[in-house]
Amino acid sequence: MDDRGHTHLIELHNITKSYQVGAVSVEAVRDISLTVKRGEIFGIIGHSGAGKSTLLRCVNLLERPTSGSVKVGEVELTKLSQRQLQAQRRKIGMIFQHFNLLSMSTVRDNIAFPLKLAGLTGTAVRDRVDELLKLVQLEQHADKYPAQLSGGQKQRVGIARALAGNPDVLLCDEATSALDPQTTNSILSLLLDINAKLGITILLITHEMQVIRSICDRVAVIDKGEIVELGDVLHVFLKPEHPVTRDFVDQVSDTSAASVLLEKRQGRLLRVTYVGELTYEPILYNAVKQTPVQFVILQGTVSRMKQTPYGQLIVELLGEDLEIDNVVAALRKEGLEVDTL
């Protein structure tokens, strides 16, 4: 796959968006470049006001960047006329935090909306809507109005509507932020499904690390209009470098007490990280059982990131330095990542 056009679906180059607030100009997004690969789920996380919403809206030019270029697929959107842009937007689905459904139209008519915009009529519309209703499991609710639906159901309508035109990309604007945790999970698994089965690339923004951890392949952390960290979710999650990233990781893995542990240490304090099938192996026990070294687990997380199991333990090893070195070597040999704290 050496052809960039095939591997990169979204390319943002040097995007800057500034607003005039009174006499001063405020930069919501500052010189951001970003590429999203075809087929991946890419997450952008940031606190409110960090610029993530503006950045997302620059992808389909709901917000026109002050400078920079946007390319989706083979097309440079920033160079299109208004009419050409409207046609291209039909290939980019979008869902919203507050769903933004037509309150005066039924579920069926909401899903049919983009199809009618594209000029389809009659049975072509009806058949496609039926397909989509089935995909999001809302067949029984076709003739209801949005006000009669729960939040999760409304977002399913939003998803069906966004997928109606067979888009290459789905943009998600805080799609689960207005939902309760259980509903959030069902919407996230629907998004995972859509990504896997239909091969639709997903670009989402959120302020919840949980969302990133559950479905994203890669993540960018945005702060004050700039990307401060970017990489595979697993890597960013286990080795957060920027303080903002650490804040977000702390949301889901409670390692904030590490400094207290450091003060109380007696032996050597280690952070042991393991990923994949290793998670289920008794490696730690095997490494110490032949030696006089003892271990105490002070803190630990065992969880899943998308499909990958992972764990991170903070362990105190008690014993002779040399023996401890041997244990560390043994752990590393098994493929664990070991850091001395």
Binding site: H98, L101, S103, A118
Partner: protein
């Protein structure tokens, strides 16, 4: 005990028909022109699709000026225009143009206000789906604002009923004309009473019908 000796029911019936005709015809034109002006006002206002401060400012001033002029004065002021359009400045036909001129700016403001109530997020979603500005107006704004627009039509219809009564001053015909000529000028209180009761009933019926429509189309 009142005798109603002066009341000629045939004449009352004719006047009622005139009032209904004036109201219906002027309402129709008011809706057509008012909807267009209201949409333009909304679209050209700040932070909306066509944002045009100049256009909005000028249109807004015209609307305000027309709304400030008392109906009786307006009616007399535009008589030449009325005559040019309908061939007469008298009677039922002659009162329709001033009714439309008076009610249109009022209705246009109500339209602008109802369109403002439409969730910006829904407009944004439609644009994200590739809707043109015209699509947004036709498929989103007019549809989403339906209950508000129906309420606006109801209020305007009721206002028009009271305007038609005033057009009696220039011999506009209808119930108001009757009340003025017999009730006021000839002290036939019974005629005045009957026309007033009929006007009250008409306003009640309009308001009830309007409310029923709004209820029927509310989805929130």
């Amino acid at each position: 005990m009142m005798s109603f000796e002066n009341v000629r029911w045939e004449e009352i019936w004719e006047a009622t028909k005139d009032t209904l005709y004036m109201m219906a015809a002027s309402l129709l034109f008011t809706i057509i022109f008012g909807l267009m002006i209201g949409i333009v006002l909304f679209l050209t206002s700040r932070r909306q699709l066509l944002q045009q401060p100049m256009v909005y400012g000028i249109l807004s001033v015209i609307v305000n000026v027309l709304r400030s002029v008392p109906f009786v004065i307006l009616m007399i002021m535009i008589m030449p225009i009325t005559k040019w359009i309908t061939g007469t400045s008298l009677g039922v036909e002659g009162s329709i143009p001033p009714l439309v001129v008076a009610a249109t700016p009022f209705f246009a403001r109500l339209v602008e206000t109802s369109l403002r109530e439409v969730d910006r997020g829904v407009i944004e979603a439609a644009q994200a789906m590739g809707a043109s500005k015209w699509d947004v107006v036709r498929r989103v704004l007019l549809s989403e604002a339906r209950p508000g627009l129906m309420a606006a039509v109801t209020i305007t219809a009721v206002t028009l009923v009271s305007y038609t009564a005033m057009s009696g001053v220039i011999g506009g015909g209808g119930l108001g004309d009757l009340a003025l000529r017999y009730g006021y000028q000839r002290f036939q209180t019974d005629v005045m009473l009957v026309t007033v009761v009929l006007l009250i009933v008409l306003v009640q019926l309009l308001q009830m019908a309007g409310d029923a429509l709004v209820r029927r189309y509310s989805r929130k």
